[in-house]
Point group: C2
Chain length 253, copies 2
DNA sequence: CACTAAATGTTATAATTTTAACATTAACGC
DNA sequence: GCGTTAATGTTAAAATTATAACATTTAGTG
């Protein structure tokens, strides 16, 4: 709770800023204090640094903090998301140029893209870009602009034009709400332009949503249900068919 | 070395694709095998997953793999980079719009930006963007395009135009080679356009290089030494002054 | 079916990390 | 200076993780 403690943490944060991990032992040496002091700094003041098995890492870096907790609920949610993405994967073919929407829905799909030999992914989301950047066989095109932390994505006034210049094969769009009458919607207004541009440009439009989104309306409307060629969803029970079974979009998968 | 082993790793990689960590215990449960089997999978087949204190993490995610090793050489290198960035920090003021170049040189600077109340960072590098995205007080503008893994940065045919549209205050440029006669150069040709555009637009141009780059020439030339208003470097011994002392650029810091 | 070999499980042990308790040092007010 | 309190160091014990050895299961073969 001291100024010196904060100073140490700042020093360590600098060391970790470029990414990478720092062993507790080295951190202590770097600050000329004992390991215990570093431990105490970390527990007393809460900072962006977290301790993972004796190593310091930046907690807010993607792929570090959010510890996957395997309780009943999470596990089933995990299963649902993956079932969803496995179905979506069925529509992807070698050589495709894919538009991948922001949000967490399509994340599980990305690692499965490593099975292809040549793909191109177009996205405006930082988390998607990070996952795709790790894949050696996938070309990545990131649409830049001003960063919106809420959706981990970028927006600019000419993002629609940039999307329309690209030859996008298949657009995989996610949504926060799907309703037969009120259409397809999301939370953030800055997502509307890129989504609409991708829908307008792509040869095939896939809406990828889990069943929990049916009958839900969110602030930012961006498309009608029949703007999509395919709706990929995880269940086809009474609930989902109520909203999709009589729609114009062919319910494949 | 089995197919089933690879299958398990693929499954785990999917689970980790969205980022986050997975406890060994949960990973074992997820695959319906013992923890030992997961351990063996990880050691036998080498995959993108690494084990960090009982937790599985994506090794190629930024901020995870490159373990900071504190031997003499590394430590001094660390000190040099930070001295350099602390000097560069002196030129930054509240409210600035900064262009931050790609490479690892300017990374230590980024965490220090959290001391300001309002800043805007413009970059075309993914690692820079990730570090800045974590700072709540800094607006981030990422210039997108096709991703170049070699430099972790993006390039496009209209990146120069995009840079020139922005009101950049100060351009912090890094380089791989600095020579009085042959000018300032870098490794990758796709970096030339954004660097030159930033130099052309910015009100103040700062070249940030450590002394080891003096007298070195790299394939991609992008500027003359006197295109810069300030050269920020870590030493002013005989070697550096030989190259800079008699140049046109005022050697501040 | 028996045999073999690979894959996986189990257990014990070693190494490491975490926690807690107490000792020491440094800082500050009076 | 003295006494008090916060900060840091030291040490031992507990918990966790890693390694190694051996047991068991599984898959494939003649």
């Amino acid at each position: 709770m001291n100024g010196r403690s904060a100073q140490r943490l700042a020093k360590l944060q600098e060391a970790l800023a470029s990414g990478g991990t720092l062993h507790l032992r080295d951190a202590a040496e770097l600050c000329n204090v004992s390991e215990m002091t570093i431990r105490r700094d970390l527990t007393t003041q809460k900072s962006a640094i977290s301790l993972l098995g004796g190593r310091l890492v930046m907690a807010n870096y993607p792929g570090v903090t959010p510890i996957y907790d395997l309780n009943e609920q999470q596990a089933s949610h995990y299963q649902a998301k993956h079932r969803l993405c496995r179905r979506a994967l069925g529509y992807i073919q070698e050589g495709d140029t894919l538009f991948i929407d922001c949000g967490s829905t399509l994340m599980p799909l990305l690692s499965q893209l490593s099975h292809f030999h040549e793909l191109t992914v177009v996205t405006y989301a930082l988390n998607v870009a990070n996952a795709v950047a790790a894949l050696p066989n996938v070309r990545l095109v990131l649409l830049g602009g001003l960063f919106y932390p809420a959706s981990q994505s970028f927006g600019s006034d000419n993002i629609a034009a940039a999307i329309e210049r690209l030859g996008i094969n298949k657009a995989l769009i996610s949504a926060a709400g799907v309703d037969l009458e009120r259409g397809v919607s999301c939370f953030h207004f800055h997502e509307v332009a890129p989504k609409q541009a991708a829908i307008a440009t792509a040869m095939q439009r896939l809406l990828v949503v889990d069943a929990s989104k049916f009958g839900v309306v969110r602030p930012a409307y961006f498309a009608a249900l029949d703007d999509f060629d395919v709706v990929v969803t995880d269940e086809e029970g009474a609930h989902s068919s109520q909203y999709l079974g009589c729609g114009n979009a062919p319910l494949l998968s």
